[in-house]
Subunit: 533 residues, 2 copies
């Protein structure tokens, strides 16, 4: 049954379409397909039919310039003249990112700078009334077009909401606003002998980190954002303020709304406050690097370490190309062996760290490491780790001219499949002839292909896109994912249906429609609705 | 066909469908209340109004005997004569539990025994057609009335779906069916040097463990179900089969549906398959116990251990009453000091375990432990730990007559609030005069009051209920939760709104309505819909 149109009474002249909207998904039928290595069991679920998930479709109509003109004075009434701007420079700054794999031509039509949850709520009510899209913005370091303004709308920059509100040392948690950066937070927490483990790209802030469900190098030991957030305060599309959960470390009190918002990329609401789980700083942290003749040897070292159950702090793999790029960037104190190299972090008590290093050193020898250097103090550790930290930057530094684009891919596969897909990725990129390196969070089965290509050469761009697409398909075949930590954004929407199937995606859409029926919260991200023409 | 009546209240009274449903929540207005220690910031959110969350209500109508008579032959067509039964003994066995804090008078009207996900799907389609409620059943060890058949319906016993389907040793995960018990699973995994950490009550099975989002004594170190499940295969209300996620250890691919189902208590779908994260068995595990003069001393020991960041395997606290009950039960090899006692587990390499024990021993001395006994081998460890393991059983054994009921409460608070609330709990229970002990997962701020009372004495029952209610309110005041691991079920619905507020609960209901518009999946659990009379 096609439940025709969801009509809502208009406000300010905006109306939901009153024509004969058609649920295109039900007209076109469901693409059935089989997926390489997946069992029949799995393949069947990806193509089944559902009455619940496909009985409605939304026909969003978004407010534009005319509606903004009505909204502006209402918003300025409580946020002041500086609370929202239409300055073209600000629109550009909030709608384009040179970091992102993908940019689009449209920009937000206003940028707001709220100072409190209540301001965000009041503003959302007004945007809701005029059907103006709302796009959250904190660090702006997203790689997949997460804050691209596909439908114009109001970008909400949390720059003024950057406070650490409460540190509960004995409870091992902290309450923060969305524009607190993870690096700045850890500076504050250091004095309390605590830290917040997730460590994505430099510059990332809590709001965006919740949005993408990100992680970083510490995840294999300490988990991702999903394991390190206790509760969230969220403003929904109509301005409703909810708090997902109280502050105990464990709870079985109803649906896990906290995790529903983590990774929802701003499509379900704006996070205005977060309580984060903290970890006591390890007594000691030591770093080691071990170059190998081949990726396979390095991977076999990782597998053996994982099989011991040793809780290594971080297990990072850089390929030969990446090591060469690091050397070429020339800002390192030393020259590295230009071979696939493992970067390892050990943490715990001095005796525990010593024991871990000895065990890993033995495994490294068994798996034919060319050498095994470990830092005896923090300074040496920082020097050794810097090559890992500078991986992306050194790729960017190697850009020859302004046409060069950097594409930082992100896939994850079950642990045992990582060496196979990394080798395939290298072979595929070699064929394209572009410069491409591999950086992997090997303890998580998560890896990035950092690709340098001429973004103004349509043929080269298409070739790279095709290679990435094939790689993603391969990750999915191996029971992996199109994104381990960067999120879907604009760029990976097309892969998500290949990964999860129509019905699983249908369930996500159903939830989205239930919470944000006007589709004003960061529209066009994660999935598209089948909009009637 | 019975149609759910859905109506949008509000000016103009736009109707989404036909019928006379009334959204009682909008008629009665919203209760506003203030909550003790919560900040004004939080209190405000609990009482705000929402247009999105309250614009619809459902009026479920459930199929009964007449509809079952139509469904039975259709179900038997593919599940066989034995696939579904109406035998009164089976109905009783699947609708009543002597473990549960709460039982009701109604029973399921049929019990089904599916063998595959496909059978579950086909059966759900038929139940959906006839609006027959569907209630999942695996271990039957739930404490809060989770499988009580509030509206009759079909209990789905997964007894035949008890297989370990795939063990991926190198990927550190396992694929299981819902009736695999955690204890049996760990027997199988032991051979592979692996284990699955969540350890709730004996007899619990994966299906129910996903449902309640449970945990156990290992959670402070290894996390709860929420941190240890990679993906789920779920049959939705209309028979749609979805798989929430692929199998990598990390993913940012869209909404976190896995966690949405974990803790949803069967109200959103039936889990028919789960991929679980595994952990390598520690080389060594040692156990220690330390009695203290007071709960406060024991708690201060816990706080100091937590502040060191030591990853103790388990940190359990039993009060003096519980220790006496253990001694009285008389099935222990030794007599314990009848004082508040910490039970600790240490795991890791032999050297690591030795170091941990020494450090904790020093802290225990500083915090005035009366003694500190640690087991030198596995046999001694099992003996020491058995008092902890037998806590609930020994309370049950102390029942004087068949009127005695056991009420096993479950609350969690931020770590620093645990000693305070435990002392208050003891004082409150002392006043009632009933036998009540405390067992706490102290490393999580989660505790249980195990209360023995005369369930057939209305006055005593009311007094205990009142004491528990006040205790829950206190936990909520302290920014805690009415359930740390047992779930909401029937019993804690009334507390959930006090804990989370109307809007947060409204968001949960909105999601429920979107996925299960007929409200046939385990109706009456977690929350009630405002049904028009």
């Amino acid at each position: 049954m096609i439940d025709p149109i969801v009509r809502r009474p208009g406000s300010g002249g905006i109306r939901w379409s009153t024509g004969k909207a058609l649920a295109l998904s039900t007209l076109t039928g469901l693409a059935t397909y089989s997926i390489g290595l997946l069992s029949n069991r799995d393949a069947a679920y990806k193509a089944s039919n559902s009455s619940i998930l496909r009985d409605r479709t939304v026909v969003p109509k978004y407010g534009a310039k005319a509606e903004l003109d009505k909204a502006l004075p209402e918003i300025r009434e409580f946020m002041g003249e500086d609370g929202i701007t239409t300055d073209p420079e600000e629109l550009e700054r909030h709608g384009f990112s040179s970091w992102s794999t993908y940019n689009i031509d449209t920009r937000p039509i206003a940028v707001a700078f709220p100072k409190t949850t209540e301001e965000v709520s009041k503003m959302a009510k007004i945007c809701h009334k005029y059907h103006l899209p709302i796009i959250g913005y904190s660090g702006g370091t997203s790689l997949e077009g997460h804050f691209s303004a596909t439908e114009g709308g109001v970008c909400v920059d949390f720059v003024h909401m950057d406070k650490v509100l409460d540190i509960h040392v004995e409870d091992l948690d902290v309450v923060v606003q969305p524009s607190v950066g993870w690096q700045e937070l850890n500076e504050v927490l250091k004095e309390k002998n605590l830290f917040f483990p997730p460590d994505p790209g430099p510059g990332a802030k809590i709001g965006g980190m919740v949005g993408t469900g990100c992680s970083g190098t510490n995840a294999s030991r300490y988990g991702t954002m999903r394991e390190n957030v206790l509760n969230l305060t969220v403003v929904l599309a109509d301005g409703t303020i909810i708090k997902t959960r109280q502050r105990p470390r464990k709870s079985s009190a109803g649906y896990d709304l906290t995790r529903l918002f983590i990774g929802s990329e701003g499509t379900l609401g704006l996070v205005t406050e977060a309580t984060l789980k903290l970890t006591v700083l390890p007594e000691q942290t030591r770093v080691a690097i071990a170059p190998f003749e081949s990726i396979r040897d390095a991977a076999s070292c990782v597998a053996k370490i994982m099989a011991t159950g040793l809780q290594v702090g971080a297990l990072e793999l850089l390929d030969d190309v990446q090591m060469k790029v690091v050397n070429d960037a020339g800002d390192q104190a030393r020259k590295y062996d230009e071979k696939p190299t493992l970067f390892l972090k050990f943490s715990g008590s001095p005796a525990g760290v010593k024991e871990q290093i000895e065990k890993v050193q033995t495994i490294a020898k068994e798996t034919k490491a060319r050498s095994f250097d470990f830092a005896r103090n923090d300074k040496e550790g920082a020097d050794l780790w810097s090559a890992r930290k500078e991986a992306l930057w050194s790729m960017i530094a190697s850009q020859q001219n302004e046409n060069d684009g950097v594409w930082n891919t992100d896939m994850a596969v079950p642990l045992s499949k990582l060496p196979m897909i990394i080798e395939e990725a290298k072979a595929k990129m070699d064929k394209t002839g572009v410069l491409a390196s591999i950086v992997a969070h090997a303890g998580d089965g998560n890896f990035h292909n950092i690709i340098l290509y001429n973004k103004n050469d349509p043929a080269e761009k298409a070739m790279v896109e095709q290679a990435v697409h094939e790689l993603v398909q391969r990750a999915i075949e191996l029971d992996g994912t199109c994104t381990g930590e960067h999120g879907v954004g604009l760029v990976k929407k097309k892969y998500l249906v290949e990964e999860l199937g129509e019905d699983t995606l249908g369930l996500m859409k159903k939830i989205k429609m239930a919470i944000d029926p006007l589709d004003i919260m960061n529209p066009g991200k994660i999935f598209d609705f089948e909009v009637a023409k």
